[in-house]
Amino acid sequence: MTEFAIAFEKVSLAFDDKVVLRDVSFSLERGHTKIVIGASGSGKSTILRLILGLLKPDGGQIRINGERVDQMHEEALMKVRAGLGMVFQEGALFDSLTVRENVGYQLFEETTMPIPEVDARVGEVLGFVGLGEFVGRMPSELSGGQRRRVAIARALTSKPKVLLYDEPTTGLDPITALTVDDEIIKLRDLEGVSAILVTHQLRDAFYVATHEAVKQGDQITFVPASPEKAAMTEFLMLKDGGVAFEGAADALRHSDDPYLKAFLS
């Protein structure tokens, strides 16, 4: 077993003649979190789609837990995807299904788990995102932020070891955003989940990078991260199809690169 949950090696992709990614390489260690930032249209969502195998790269290699997925057949990919949880940018909830059916979808449809157990798990993850009483609602009856949290709950249902978040806090008020950030931290620090977090919200990005969840008895508290913990979260900045920066929060903050400075201010 390699120590990388996800590894990109010289991955390139173009839509018609528009190059989105050019020889992008990076790797995500198990249990670590990579925060991907970059301007709108820089290819952040595209990277997550490539990991899921929803798109195929024009060149390069993509590995998940050491296994090459970039050329993999759709059928084999289904097994890989079972270990991945994805929160789509706009939520992508199934609008013909209730919140319960959305959140439990994977267990209802793709496993033989008994219904009561699925419902218990659905209740658990909905409680996790603070929407326990919304099980019976349709997605159209939820606010934007609630939809986002349901989408996060859906990604968590089958306890994936790798989570991909596409802008999970965009459009949320600061308080709700913070609870989502706390979930991300909790999953990283207490469940050992590896994650890629795509976000525009630098506040949330730095909060996730610099805080740590500590469990004492039943109490979970969020404290400034120890240096070892802080090293588990790295930033990756995309620009013009390439990686403009890769490194820790501190290094990003103190970078002298004018583009990075402009982006952070």
Partner: protein
């Protein structure tokens, strides 16, 4: 000239993609997983949902056929043969084609709109991310339901069409019931009945598979969904008439 080759190239590519989808459907039909609950749901949505429109279309078609042929037959003093004319044209041609066109308008457009909006809002991607093959989950149940329900709806349309014709024959043309129904039966050969029953399977299949293909290929937001819906109906209707012709030709060689 370049415009024409361009057009031909993209048309060919679309046809090729459509057949790739059909290939996946064929594979999905014989290998698990199957989504039985969705098939039942689609039987209801496509079959029961289309009943009203098919009842109305069938009845009025039968009525107008009786009226028209009554007038024509009068010229030859053969008014009592109206049942024969109506049953032959209804069962062989008008029942299957009109039912298919109505289902295309109602179901083909609905499928394209539903799958189209699922595509543009990333719900199809979400399905795949959750380990579900959209072809198995969405396309196959609809194709099965469409292929089996259109023949059933056609039989209903034929039935109410004949009843409509009988109503007109009895009230407007003053043809008594017994001679009317006798002539209906006399007008039907067993080959005609086969033809009328076999064709709708093909028509149902193309309507639904085209709706699915167009829906899943939707690009460009809500506007794209509108375009997809229109395309599904236009392409579906044209293909219904073309396939009707081809299958009729084929059946003439096989059955008669």
């Amino acid at each position: 000239m370049t415009w024409l080759t361009q057009w031909l190239k993209s048309a060919l590519q679309q046809v090729q993609e459509y057949f790739i989808l059909l290939g996946k459907v064929a594979r999905g039909l014989v290998t698990p997983p199957f989504y039985a609950r969705d098939v039942i749901e689609q039987f209801d949505a496509i079959g029961a949902g289309s009943l009203t429109v098919v009842l109305l279309t069938g009845t009025f078609t039968g009525m107008v056929l009786a009226l028209q042929s009554g007038i024509t037959l009068d010229k030859f003093g053969a008014r009592s043969m109206v049942g024969q004319l109506v049953s032959a044209s209804m069962v062989k041609e008008l029942g299957p084609v009109l039912t298919a066109l109505m289902v295309c308008g109602r179901v083909g457009s609905g499928i394209a709109a539903e799958l189209g909006s699922m595509t543009v809002t990333d719900q199809i991607s979400a399905l795949r991310a959750l380990g579900t093959d959209p072809v198995r989950k969405l396309v196959i149940p609809r194709v099965i339901a469409g292929t089996l329900m259109v023949p059933l709806l056609t039989v209903v349309a034929d039935g109410v069409g004949l009843v409509g014709a009988w109503l007109i024959a009895a009230t407007q043309l003053k043809v008594a019931s017994a001679p009317f129904w006798n002539s209906v039966v006399a007008g039907l050969y067993i080959e005609d009945v086969w033809m009328g029953l076999i064709k709708p399977f093909f028509l149902g299949f193309v309507i639904v598979s085209i709706g699915c293909y167009v829906g899943l290929g939707t690009k460009g937001g809500t506007q794209g969904v509108g375009r997809a819906t229109t395309n599904a109906v236009v392409a579906g209707s044209v293909v219904v008439l073309a396939v009707d012709f081809l299958v009729t030709k084929l059946l003439f060689m096989v059955l008669y």
